[in-house]
Symmetry: C3
Subunit: 200 residues, 3 copies
Protein backbone atom coordinates (compact mmCIF):
# COMPACT_ATOMS: atom_id res chain seq x y z
CA UNK A 1 0.00 0.00 0.00
CA UNK A 2 2.69 2.42 1.11
CA UNK A 3 4.84 1.35 -1.84
CA UNK A 4 1.94 1.98 -4.22
CA UNK A 5 1.56 5.52 -2.83
CA UNK A 6 5.31 6.04 -3.31
CA UNK A 7 4.91 5.05 -6.98
CA UNK A 8 1.91 7.38 -7.42
CA UNK A 9 3.84 10.26 -5.85
CA UNK A 10 6.91 9.60 -8.00
CA UNK A 11 4.83 9.60 -11.16
CA UNK A 12 2.98 12.79 -10.16
CA UNK A 13 6.28 14.55 -9.43
CA UNK A 14 7.72 13.37 -12.76
CA UNK A 15 4.67 14.71 -14.61
CA UNK A 16 4.82 18.06 -12.82
CA UNK A 17 8.49 18.32 -13.78
CA UNK A 18 7.77 17.44 -17.41
CA UNK A 19 5.04 20.09 -17.59
CA UNK A 20 7.31 22.82 -16.20
CA UNK A 21 10.06 21.84 -18.66
CA UNK A 22 7.67 21.85 -21.63
CA UNK A 23 6.45 25.33 -20.71
CA UNK A 24 10.14 26.39 -20.97
CA UNK A 25 10.31 24.88 -24.49
CA UNK A 26 13.02 22.38 -23.63
CA UNK A 27 13.80 19.52 -26.00
CA UNK A 28 12.65 15.95 -25.13
CA UNK A 29 15.92 15.09 -23.36
CA UNK A 30 15.68 18.24 -21.25
CA UNK A 31 12.05 17.46 -20.42
CA UNK A 32 13.01 13.93 -19.37
CA UNK A 33 15.86 15.07 -17.13
CA UNK A 34 13.71 17.70 -15.42
CA UNK A 35 10.99 15.04 -14.89
CA UNK A 36 13.62 12.71 -13.45
CA UNK A 37 15.18 15.29 -11.17
CA UNK A 38 11.82 16.51 -9.87
CA UNK A 39 10.82 12.94 -9.00
CA UNK A 40 14.00 11.69 -7.34
CA UNK A 41 15.98 14.87 -6.57
CA UNK A 42 14.81 15.21 -2.97
CA UNK A 43 15.51 11.59 -2.06
CA UNK A 44 18.85 11.69 -3.86
CA UNK A 45 20.02 14.74 -1.92
CA UNK A 46 18.90 13.07 1.32
CA UNK A 47 20.70 9.80 0.54
CA UNK A 48 23.89 11.59 -0.45
CA UNK A 49 23.88 13.65 2.76
CA UNK A 50 23.30 10.70 5.09
CA UNK A 51 25.68 8.43 3.16
CA UNK A 52 23.14 5.92 1.90
CA UNK A 53 24.86 5.11 -1.40
CA UNK A 54 24.44 4.13 -4.18
CA UNK A 55 21.38 6.40 -3.80
CA UNK A 56 17.87 4.86 -3.70
CA UNK A 57 16.83 4.97 -7.36
CA UNK A 58 20.11 3.33 -8.42
CA UNK A 59 19.29 0.25 -6.37
CA UNK A 60 15.80 -0.22 -7.81
CA UNK A 61 15.23 0.50 -11.53
CA UNK A 62 11.45 0.56 -10.88
CA UNK A 63 11.74 4.30 -10.24
CA UNK A 64 13.36 4.86 -13.63
CA UNK A 65 10.52 2.99 -15.36
CA UNK A 66 7.86 4.91 -13.42
CA UNK A 67 9.49 8.19 -14.42
CA UNK A 68 9.69 7.12 -18.06
CA UNK A 69 5.94 6.41 -17.93
CA UNK A 70 5.21 9.73 -16.23
CA UNK A 71 7.24 11.47 -18.94
CA UNK A 72 5.40 9.65 -21.75
CA UNK A 73 1.97 10.33 -20.19
CA UNK A 74 2.81 14.01 -19.71
CA UNK A 75 3.77 14.30 -23.39
CA UNK A 76 0.68 12.44 -24.67
CA UNK A 77 -1.77 14.36 -22.51
CA UNK A 78 0.06 17.68 -22.57
CA UNK A 79 -2.82 19.49 -24.25
CA UNK A 80 -5.41 18.05 -21.88
CA UNK A 81 -3.53 18.52 -18.64
CA UNK A 82 -5.26 21.77 -17.78
CA UNK A 83 -8.50 19.82 -17.33
CA UNK A 84 -6.68 17.13 -15.35
CA UNK A 85 -5.07 19.72 -13.07
CA UNK A 86 -7.17 18.69 -10.06
CA UNK A 87 -6.26 15.00 -10.27
CA UNK A 88 -2.64 15.92 -10.78
CA UNK A 89 -2.63 18.19 -7.71
CA UNK A 90 -4.12 15.34 -5.71
CA UNK A 91 -1.42 12.87 -6.77
CA UNK A 92 1.26 15.49 -6.17
CA UNK A 93 -0.11 15.97 -2.66
CA UNK A 94 -0.02 12.23 -2.01
CA UNK A 95 3.64 12.38 -2.99
CA UNK A 96 4.19 15.21 -0.53
CA UNK A 97 2.78 13.20 2.37
CA UNK A 98 4.48 9.93 1.49
CA UNK A 99 7.89 11.41 0.71
CA UNK A 100 7.95 13.35 3.99
CA UNK A 101 7.38 10.12 5.90
CA UNK A 102 10.01 8.22 3.91
CA UNK A 103 12.56 10.94 4.66
CA UNK A 104 11.74 10.98 8.39
CA UNK A 105 12.00 7.18 8.51
CA UNK A 106 15.45 7.22 6.87
CA UNK A 107 16.61 9.71 9.52
CA UNK A 108 15.35 7.40 12.29
CA UNK A 109 17.11 4.44 10.63
CA UNK A 110 20.35 6.43 10.86
CA UNK A 111 19.69 7.36 14.54
CA UNK A 112 19.56 11.08 13.83
CA UNK A 113 18.01 13.73 16.07
CA UNK A 114 14.24 14.40 15.51
CA UNK A 115 15.01 17.94 14.28
CA UNK A 116 17.32 16.47 11.63
CA UNK A 117 14.73 13.80 10.74
CA UNK A 118 12.13 16.50 10.09
CA UNK A 119 14.67 18.35 7.93
CA UNK A 120 15.26 15.11 5.98
CA UNK A 121 11.51 14.59 5.49
CA UNK A 122 11.06 18.14 4.22
CA UNK A 123 14.09 17.78 1.96
CA UNK A 124 12.79 14.50 0.48
CA UNK A 125 9.41 16.04 -0.28
CA UNK A 126 10.49 19.49 -1.47
CA UNK A 127 13.96 19.52 -3.02
CA UNK A 128 13.02 17.72 -6.20
CA UNK A 129 10.90 20.79 -6.97
CA UNK A 130 13.70 23.13 -5.92
CA UNK A 131 16.14 21.40 -8.29
CA UNK A 132 13.54 21.52 -11.07
CA UNK A 133 13.20 25.30 -10.65
CA UNK A 134 16.97 25.88 -10.45
CA UNK A 135 17.55 23.90 -13.66
CA UNK A 136 14.84 26.03 -15.30
CA UNK A 137 16.53 29.20 -13.92
CA UNK A 138 13.62 30.26 -11.71
CA UNK A 139 13.69 31.21 -8.03
CA UNK A 140 12.19 28.06 -6.44
CA UNK A 141 8.41 28.45 -6.17
CA UNK A 142 8.36 27.03 -2.62
CA UNK A 143 10.55 29.94 -1.48
CA UNK A 144 8.10 32.49 -2.79
CA UNK A 145 4.47 31.54 -2.79
CA UNK A 146 3.48 28.10 -1.70
CA UNK A 147 2.97 26.82 1.85
CA UNK A 148 4.45 23.54 0.85
CA UNK A 149 7.51 22.92 2.97
CA UNK A 150 5.88 24.44 6.05
CA UNK A 151 3.25 21.69 5.89
CA UNK A 152 5.97 19.01 5.84
CA UNK A 153 7.52 20.56 8.94
CA UNK A 154 4.15 20.62 10.73
CA UNK A 155 3.58 16.99 9.72
CA UNK A 156 7.03 16.08 11.02
CA UNK A 157 6.44 17.73 14.40
CA UNK A 158 3.13 15.88 14.70
CA UNK A 159 4.90 12.63 13.84
CA UNK A 160 7.37 12.93 16.71
CA UNK A 161 4.69 14.18 19.15
CA UNK A 162 2.55 11.08 18.44
CA UNK A 163 5.61 8.85 18.53
CA UNK A 164 6.46 10.09 22.01
CA UNK A 165 2.94 9.00 23.08
CA UNK A 166 3.84 5.49 21.85
CA UNK A 167 1.22 5.53 19.12
CA UNK A 168 1.44 2.37 17.02
CA UNK A 169 3.51 2.64 13.80
CA UNK A 170 0.60 2.11 11.37
CA UNK A 171 -1.55 4.76 13.01
CA UNK A 172 1.45 7.08 13.23
CA UNK A 173 2.10 6.83 9.50
CA UNK A 174 -1.54 7.11 8.54
CA UNK A 175 -2.20 10.11 10.80
CA UNK A 176 0.89 12.04 9.71
CA UNK A 177 0.47 11.53 5.99
CA UNK A 178 -3.28 12.28 6.20
CA UNK A 179 -2.72 15.54 8.04
CA UNK A 180 -0.08 16.66 5.51
CA UNK A 181 -2.39 15.79 2.61
CA UNK A 182 -5.45 17.49 4.15
CA UNK A 183 -3.64 20.72 5.07
CA UNK A 184 -2.06 20.86 1.62
CA UNK A 185 -5.43 20.42 -0.13
CA UNK A 186 -6.94 23.15 2.06
CA UNK A 187 -3.96 25.40 1.31
CA UNK A 188 -4.44 24.93 -2.43
CA UNK A 189 -8.21 25.46 -2.19
CA UNK A 190 -8.05 28.60 -0.04
CA UNK A 191 -4.78 29.90 -1.52
CA UNK A 192 -2.98 30.07 1.82
CA UNK A 193 0.50 31.50 1.62
CA UNK A 194 3.20 33.08 3.76
CA UNK A 195 3.69 36.82 3.36
CA UNK A 196 7.12 37.76 1.99
CA UNK A 197 9.67 39.26 4.36
CA UNK A 198 11.06 42.51 3.04
CA UNK A 199 13.94 44.22 4.73
CA UNK A 200 13.41 47.77 3.59
Amino acid sequence: MFHLLDIIGTMAFAMSGALTAMSKKLDPFGVFIIAFVTAVGGGTLRDVMIGRTPVGWMQDPTYVYVIVWGFILAIIFRKKLDRLRTSLALFDTIGLGVFTLIGIQKGIDYHLHPVICIALGTMTACFGGVTRDILCVEIPVIFRREVYATICIIGGILFFALRKMNVENDVLYLATSSIIIVIRLLAVKYKWHLAPLEHK
Copy 2:
Protein backbone atom coordinates in the same frame (compact mmCIF):
# COMPACT_ATOMS: atom_id res chain seq x y z
CA MET B 1 46.08 5.41 -24.26
CA PHE B 2 42.73 5.56 -22.57
CA HIS B 3 44.23 7.66 -19.78
CA LEU B 4 45.69 10.08 -22.35
CA LEU B 5 42.23 10.50 -23.91
CA ASP B 6 40.82 11.14 -20.43
CA ILE B 7 43.40 13.93 -19.98
CA ILE B 8 42.60 15.43 -23.42
CA GLY B 9 38.88 15.38 -22.63
CA THR B 10 39.41 16.96 -19.21
CA MET B 11 41.47 19.76 -20.71
CA ALA B 12 38.93 20.37 -23.49
CA PHE B 13 36.09 20.54 -20.98
CA ALA B 14 38.10 22.93 -18.78
CA MET B 15 38.77 25.20 -21.77
CA SER B 16 35.11 25.18 -22.83
CA GLY B 17 34.15 26.15 -19.28
CA ALA B 18 36.73 28.93 -19.18
CA LEU B 19 35.46 30.36 -22.47
CA THR B 20 31.83 30.40 -21.29
CA ALA B 21 32.89 32.09 -18.05
CA MET B 22 34.95 34.74 -19.86
CA SER B 23 32.01 35.54 -22.12
CA LYS B 24 30.07 36.25 -18.89
CA LYS B 25 32.84 38.67 -17.78
CA LEU B 26 33.68 36.73 -14.63
CA ASP B 27 36.88 37.49 -12.73
CA PRO B 28 39.84 35.05 -12.94
CA PHE B 29 38.75 33.10 -9.87
CA GLY B 30 35.25 32.69 -11.31
CA VAL B 31 36.69 31.60 -14.65
CA PHE B 32 38.89 29.03 -12.91
CA ILE B 33 36.02 27.57 -10.87
CA ILE B 34 33.76 27.30 -13.92
CA ALA B 35 36.61 25.59 -15.82
CA PHE B 36 37.08 23.22 -12.90
CA VAL B 37 33.42 22.40 -12.49
CA THR B 38 32.89 21.85 -16.22
CA ALA B 39 35.82 19.40 -16.29
CA VAL B 40 35.10 17.34 -13.17
CA GLY B 41 31.46 18.15 -12.30
CA GLY B 42 29.95 15.12 -14.04
CA GLY B 43 32.36 12.62 -12.50
CA THR B 44 32.02 14.26 -9.09
CA LEU B 45 28.23 13.98 -9.14
CA ARG B 46 28.54 10.33 -10.21
CA ASP B 47 31.06 9.49 -7.48
CA VAL B 48 28.98 11.20 -4.79
CA MET B 49 25.83 9.34 -5.87
CA ILE B 50 27.44 5.89 -5.94
CA GLY B 51 29.44 6.53 -2.76
CA ARG B 52 32.93 6.46 -4.27
CA THR B 53 34.53 8.99 -1.92
CA PRO B 54 36.72 11.00 -1.62
CA VAL B 55 35.62 11.71 -5.21
CA GLY B 56 37.95 10.91 -8.12
CA TRP B 57 39.84 14.20 -8.59
CA MET B 58 40.65 14.37 -4.86
CA GLN B 59 42.56 11.11 -5.10
CA ASP B 60 44.71 12.16 -8.05
CA PRO B 61 45.95 15.81 -8.23
CA THR B 62 46.79 15.25 -11.93
CA TYR B 63 43.29 16.44 -12.79
CA VAL B 64 43.83 19.70 -10.90
CA TYR B 65 47.06 20.36 -12.81
CA VAL B 66 45.44 19.55 -16.17
CA ILE B 67 42.61 21.96 -15.40
CA VAL B 68 45.06 24.69 -14.35
CA TRP B 69 46.79 24.25 -17.73
CA GLY B 70 43.49 24.29 -19.60
CA PHE B 71 42.59 27.50 -17.75
CA ILE B 72 45.94 29.15 -18.58
CA LEU B 73 45.77 28.09 -22.25
CA ALA B 74 42.21 29.37 -22.55
CA ILE B 75 43.30 32.77 -21.18
CA ILE B 76 46.39 33.03 -23.39
CA PHE B 77 44.62 32.00 -26.58
CA ARG B 78 41.29 33.63 -25.78
CA LYS B 79 41.42 35.96 -28.77
CA LYS B 80 42.41 33.18 -31.17
CA LEU B 81 39.99 30.53 -30.03
CA ASP B 82 37.47 31.28 -32.74
CA ARG B 83 39.93 30.01 -35.29
CA LEU B 84 40.70 26.98 -33.10
CA ARG B 85 37.01 26.17 -32.67
CA THR B 86 37.22 23.03 -34.83
CA SER B 87 40.12 21.48 -32.88
CA LEU B 88 38.39 22.37 -29.61
CA ALA B 89 35.13 20.72 -30.73
CA LEU B 90 37.11 17.60 -31.63
CA PHE B 91 38.77 17.40 -28.20
CA ASP B 92 35.45 18.08 -26.49
CA THR B 93 33.94 15.21 -28.47
CA ILE B 94 36.76 12.88 -27.42
CA GLY B 95 35.89 13.83 -23.83
CA LEU B 96 32.25 12.97 -24.48
CA GLY B 97 33.09 9.47 -25.70
CA VAL B 98 35.68 8.71 -23.02
CA PHE B 99 33.69 10.11 -20.09
CA THR B 100 30.60 8.12 -21.09
CA LEU B 101 32.64 4.91 -21.00
CA ILE B 102 34.28 5.78 -17.67
CA GLY B 103 30.85 6.38 -16.14
CA ILE B 104 29.43 3.10 -17.48
CA GLN B 105 32.47 1.21 -16.18
CA LYS B 106 32.06 2.68 -12.68
CA GLY B 107 28.44 1.51 -12.68
CA ILE B 108 29.54 -2.01 -13.64
CA ASP B 109 32.20 -1.95 -10.89
CA TYR B 110 29.40 -1.21 -8.40
CA HIS B 111 27.20 -4.02 -9.83
CA LEU B 112 24.44 -1.65 -10.91
CA HIS B 113 21.71 -2.39 -13.47
CA PRO B 114 22.62 -1.58 -17.13
CA VAL B 115 19.94 1.17 -17.22
CA ILE B 116 21.62 2.81 -14.22
CA CYS B 117 25.07 2.34 -15.77
CA ILE B 118 23.94 4.18 -18.92
CA ALA B 119 22.54 6.97 -16.71
CA LEU B 120 25.92 7.17 -14.94
CA GLY B 121 27.77 7.35 -18.26
CA THR B 122 25.52 10.14 -19.50
CA MET B 123 25.85 11.97 -16.18
CA THR B 124 29.66 11.74 -16.28
CA ALA B 125 29.80 13.14 -19.80
CA CYS B 126 27.09 15.80 -19.56
CA PHE B 127 26.64 17.19 -16.05
CA GLY B 128 29.86 19.17 -15.96
CA GLY B 129 28.31 21.28 -18.70
CA VAL B 130 24.98 21.45 -16.87
CA THR B 131 26.71 22.73 -13.72
CA ARG B 132 28.67 25.26 -15.79
CA ASP B 133 25.43 26.64 -17.24
CA ILE B 134 23.66 26.74 -13.85
CA LEU B 135 26.56 28.64 -12.27
CA CYS B 136 26.37 31.10 -15.18
CA VAL B 137 22.57 31.36 -14.67
CA GLU B 138 21.61 29.92 -18.07
CA ILE B 139 19.17 27.11 -18.83
CA PRO B 140 21.57 24.24 -19.63
CA VAL B 141 22.33 24.17 -23.34
CA ILE B 142 21.95 20.38 -23.55
CA PHE B 143 18.31 20.72 -22.44
CA ARG B 144 17.56 23.08 -25.29
CA ARG B 145 19.51 22.62 -28.46
CA GLU B 146 22.21 20.05 -28.59
CA VAL B 147 21.87 16.31 -29.28
CA TYR B 148 24.59 15.64 -26.80
CA ALA B 149 23.19 13.49 -24.05
CA THR B 150 21.08 11.48 -26.49
CA ILE B 151 24.29 10.33 -28.17
CA CYS B 152 25.69 9.13 -24.83
CA ILE B 153 22.53 7.12 -24.26
CA ILE B 154 22.74 5.55 -27.74
CA GLY B 155 26.41 4.74 -27.10
CA GLY B 156 25.49 3.18 -23.76
CA ILE B 157 22.81 0.95 -25.30
CA LEU B 158 25.28 -0.17 -27.97
CA PHE B 159 27.82 -0.95 -25.23
CA PHE B 160 25.50 -3.33 -23.42
CA ALA B 161 24.25 -4.89 -26.68
CA LEU B 162 27.83 -5.71 -27.73
CA ARG B 163 28.69 -6.85 -24.21
CA LYS B 164 25.85 -9.37 -24.29
CA MET B 165 27.41 -10.81 -27.47
CA ASN B 166 30.62 -11.37 -25.45
CA VAL B 167 32.63 -8.94 -27.55
CA GLU B 168 36.13 -8.54 -26.11
CA ASN B 169 36.68 -5.58 -23.75
CA ASP B 170 39.11 -3.67 -25.97
CA VAL B 171 36.85 -3.89 -29.01
CA LEU B 172 33.85 -3.00 -26.86
CA TYR B 173 35.49 0.19 -25.62
CA LEU B 174 36.85 1.18 -29.00
CA ALA B 175 33.54 0.57 -30.82
CA THR B 176 31.43 2.43 -28.26
CA SER B 177 33.64 5.48 -27.96
CA SER B 178 34.12 5.66 -31.74
CA ILE B 179 30.40 5.54 -32.43
CA ILE B 180 29.74 8.31 -29.87
CA ILE B 181 32.50 10.47 -31.37
CA VAL B 182 31.37 9.90 -34.98
CA ILE B 183 27.67 10.60 -34.31
CA ARG B 184 28.58 13.71 -32.35
CA LEU B 185 30.80 15.05 -35.14
CA LEU B 186 28.03 14.38 -37.68
CA ALA B 187 25.52 16.10 -35.37
CA VAL B 188 27.73 19.19 -35.14
CA LYS B 189 28.37 19.23 -38.90
CA TYR B 190 24.75 18.79 -39.94
CA LYS B 191 23.26 20.72 -37.00
CA TRP B 192 21.05 17.85 -35.82
CA HIS B 193 18.85 18.71 -32.89
CA LEU B 194 15.72 17.55 -31.10
CA ALA B 195 12.61 19.65 -31.63
CA PRO B 196 11.35 21.33 -28.44
CA LEU B 197 8.22 19.95 -26.79
CA GLU B 198 5.64 22.63 -26.18
CA HIS B 199 2.55 21.95 -24.20
CA LYS B 200 0.25 24.65 -25.51
Copy 3:
Protein backbone atom coordinates in the same frame (compact mmCIF):
# COMPACT_ATOMS: atom_id res chain seq x y z
CA MET C 1 37.68 29.26 21.60
CA PHE C 2 37.86 27.82 18.09
CA HIS C 3 34.39 26.33 18.53
CA LEU C 4 33.07 29.75 19.61
CA LEU C 5 34.49 31.34 16.46
CA ASP C 6 32.85 28.57 14.41
CA ILE C 7 29.50 29.47 16.00
CA ILE C 8 30.03 33.20 15.36
CA GLY C 9 30.92 32.49 11.73
CA THR C 10 27.90 30.22 11.25
CA MET C 11 25.56 32.87 12.66
CA ALA C 12 27.09 35.61 10.51
CA PHE C 13 26.74 33.47 7.38
CA ALA C 14 23.11 32.65 8.27
CA MET C 15 22.33 36.36 8.72
CA SER C 16 23.99 37.28 5.42
CA GLY C 17 21.89 34.59 3.71
CA ALA C 18 18.69 35.83 5.36
CA LEU C 19 19.38 39.41 4.25
CA THR C 20 19.97 38.38 0.63
CA ALA C 21 16.77 36.32 0.65
CA MET C 22 14.71 39.16 2.14
CA SER C 23 15.98 41.56 -0.52
CA LYS C 24 14.56 39.04 -3.04
CA LYS C 25 11.16 39.17 -1.28
CA LEU C 26 11.12 35.49 -0.40
CA ASP C 27 8.62 34.16 2.13
CA PRO C 28 9.82 33.19 5.65
CA PHE C 29 10.44 29.57 4.70
CA GLY C 30 12.51 30.64 1.72
CA VAL C 31 14.47 33.09 3.89
CA PHE C 32 15.16 30.34 6.43
CA ILE C 33 16.37 27.86 3.82
CA ILE C 34 18.67 30.42 2.20
CA ALA C 35 20.05 31.29 5.67
CA PHE C 36 20.58 27.59 6.34
CA VAL C 37 22.24 26.86 3.04
CA THR C 38 24.54 29.90 3.26
CA ALA C 39 25.68 28.80 6.72
CA VAL C 40 26.25 25.08 6.15
CA GLY C 41 26.33 24.71 2.34
CA GLY C 42 30.12 24.83 2.02
CA GLY C 43 30.75 22.29 4.77
CA THR C 44 27.99 20.04 3.46
CA LEU C 45 29.45 19.97 -0.05
CA ARG C 46 32.89 19.22 1.44
CA ASP C 47 31.57 16.38 3.64
CA VAL C 48 29.61 14.82 0.79
CA MET C 49 32.66 14.91 -1.51
CA ILE C 50 35.06 13.35 0.99
CA GLY C 51 32.49 10.83 2.23
CA ARG C 52 32.10 12.14 5.78
CA THR C 53 28.42 11.23 6.24
CA PRO C 54 25.92 11.92 7.72
CA VAL C 55 27.26 15.41 7.02
CA GLY C 56 28.48 17.60 9.90
CA TRP C 57 25.34 19.57 10.83
CA MET C 58 23.29 16.35 10.99
CA GLN C 59 25.50 15.02 13.75
CA ASP C 60 25.25 18.11 15.94
CA PRO C 61 21.90 19.97 16.12
CA THR C 62 23.73 22.98 17.64
CA TYR C 63 24.23 24.30 14.11
CA VAL C 64 20.50 24.17 13.42
CA TYR C 65 19.78 26.17 16.59
CA VAL C 66 22.45 28.75 15.79
CA ILE C 67 20.99 29.21 12.31
CA VAL C 68 17.46 29.55 13.72
CA TRP C 69 18.79 32.32 16.00
CA GLY C 70 20.62 34.00 13.13
CA PHE C 71 17.40 33.88 11.10
CA ILE C 72 15.34 35.38 13.95
CA LEU C 73 17.89 38.12 14.64
CA ALA C 74 18.08 39.00 10.95
CA ILE C 75 14.29 39.37 10.83
CA ILE C 76 14.07 41.45 14.03
CA PHE C 77 16.90 43.79 13.10
CA ARG C 78 16.25 43.84 9.36
CA LYS C 79 15.56 47.57 9.30
CA LYS C 80 18.64 48.39 11.37
CA LEU C 81 21.12 46.14 9.66
CA ASP C 82 22.48 48.88 7.46
CA ARG C 83 23.91 50.55 10.55
CA LEU C 84 25.22 47.17 11.77
CA ARG C 85 26.86 46.42 8.44
CA THR C 86 30.39 46.87 9.83
CA SER C 87 29.92 44.40 12.71
CA LEU C 88 28.28 41.95 10.34
CA ALA C 89 31.18 42.17 7.87
CA LEU C 90 33.55 41.51 10.76
CA PHE C 91 31.70 38.38 11.89
CA ASP C 92 31.42 37.20 8.29
CA THR C 93 35.18 37.60 7.95
CA ILE C 94 35.77 35.58 11.12
CA GLY C 95 33.67 32.86 9.49
CA LEU C 96 35.82 33.05 6.37
CA GLY C 97 39.02 32.48 8.34
CA VAL C 98 37.65 29.75 10.60
CA PHE C 99 35.82 27.81 7.89
CA THR C 100 38.91 27.77 5.65
CA LEU C 101 40.91 26.18 8.48
CA ILE C 102 38.18 23.65 9.28
CA GLY C 103 38.09 22.58 5.62
CA ILE C 104 41.88 22.24 5.40
CA GLN C 105 41.93 20.20 8.62
CA LYS C 106 39.28 17.79 7.29
CA GLY C 107 41.39 17.25 4.18
CA ILE C 108 44.42 16.45 6.36
CA ASP C 109 42.29 14.04 8.44
CA TYR C 110 41.46 12.20 5.20
CA HIS C 111 45.16 12.17 4.13
CA LEU C 112 44.53 14.22 1.01
CA HIS C 113 47.16 16.14 -0.98
CA PRO C 114 47.82 19.77 0.18
CA VAL C 115 46.40 21.13 -3.09
CA ILE C 116 43.16 19.24 -2.41
CA CYS C 117 43.14 20.40 1.23
CA ILE C 118 43.35 24.03 0.10
CA ALA C 119 40.49 23.37 -2.33
CA LEU C 120 38.46 21.91 0.55
CA GLY C 121 39.19 24.93 2.75
CA THR C 122 38.13 27.33 0.01
CA MET C 123 35.01 25.26 -0.67
CA THR C 124 34.04 25.22 3.01
CA ALA C 125 34.39 28.99 3.28
CA CYS C 126 32.92 30.03 -0.06
CA PHE C 127 30.35 27.57 -1.40
CA GLY C 128 27.62 28.42 1.08
CA GLY C 129 27.57 31.84 -0.56
CA VAL C 130 27.67 30.31 -4.04
CA THR C 131 24.65 28.11 -3.25
CA ARG C 132 22.84 31.14 -1.78
CA ASP C 133 23.35 33.07 -5.02
CA ILE C 134 22.34 30.14 -7.24
CA LEU C 135 19.11 29.61 -5.25
CA CYS C 136 18.41 33.34 -5.68
CA VAL C 137 19.17 33.01 -9.43
CA GLU C 138 22.19 35.35 -9.42
CA ILE C 139 25.65 34.70 -10.85
CA PRO C 140 27.64 34.03 -7.65
CA VAL C 141 29.10 37.30 -6.34
CA ILE C 142 32.49 35.69 -5.62
CA PHE C 143 32.86 34.89 -9.33
CA ARG C 144 32.38 38.51 -10.25
CA ARG C 145 33.55 41.09 -7.81
CA GLU C 146 34.91 40.01 -4.50
CA VAL C 147 38.44 38.85 -3.69
CA TYR C 148 37.04 36.35 -1.30
CA ALA C 149 38.06 32.91 -2.43
CA THR C 150 41.49 34.13 -3.52
CA ILE C 151 42.19 35.08 0.10
CA CYS C 152 41.28 31.55 1.26
CA ILE C 153 43.72 30.12 -1.26
CA ILE C 154 46.50 32.47 -0.09
CA GLY C 155 45.73 31.52 3.52
CA GLY C 156 45.85 27.84 2.59
CA ILE C 157 49.23 28.15 0.89
CA LEU C 158 50.60 29.99 3.96
CA PHE C 159 49.22 27.21 6.17
CA PHE C 160 51.14 24.49 4.37
CA ALA C 161 54.29 26.63 4.10
CA LEU C 162 54.31 27.18 7.89
CA ARG C 163 53.45 23.52 8.48
CA LYS C 164 56.48 22.43 6.51
CA MET C 165 58.58 24.56 8.88
CA ASN C 166 57.13 22.50 11.75
CA VAL C 167 55.39 25.49 13.31
CA GLU C 168 53.32 24.40 16.30
CA ASN C 169 49.62 23.68 15.61
CA ASP C 170 48.24 26.55 17.74
CA VAL C 171 50.48 29.14 16.12
CA LEU C 172 49.74 27.66 12.70
CA TYR C 173 46.00 28.04 13.19
CA LEU C 174 46.24 31.51 14.70
CA ALA C 175 48.60 32.82 12.02
CA THR C 176 46.59 31.45 9.10
CA SER C 177 43.19 32.61 10.29
CA SER C 178 44.58 36.03 11.28
CA ILE C 179 46.15 36.58 7.89
CA ILE C 180 42.91 35.62 6.11
CA ILE C 181 40.90 37.95 8.33
CA VAL C 182 43.34 40.89 7.97
CA ILE C 183 43.62 40.62 4.16
CA ARG C 184 39.85 40.34 3.86
CA LEU C 185 39.27 43.43 6.00
CA LEU C 186 41.82 45.37 3.94
CA ALA C 187 40.14 44.14 0.74
CA VAL C 188 36.75 45.38 1.94
CA LYS C 189 38.19 48.71 3.11
CA TYR C 190 40.16 49.43 -0.06
CA LYS C 191 37.71 47.74 -2.44
CA TRP C 192 40.30 45.37 -3.91
CA HIS C 193 38.99 43.19 -6.69
CA LEU C 194 40.16 41.09 -9.61
CA ALA C 195 39.61 42.52 -13.07
CA PRO C 196 37.22 40.47 -15.22
CA LEU C 197 38.66 38.41 -18.05
CA GLU C 198 36.95 39.13 -21.34
CA HIS C 199 37.62 37.06 -24.40
CA LYS C 200 36.70 39.52 -27.11
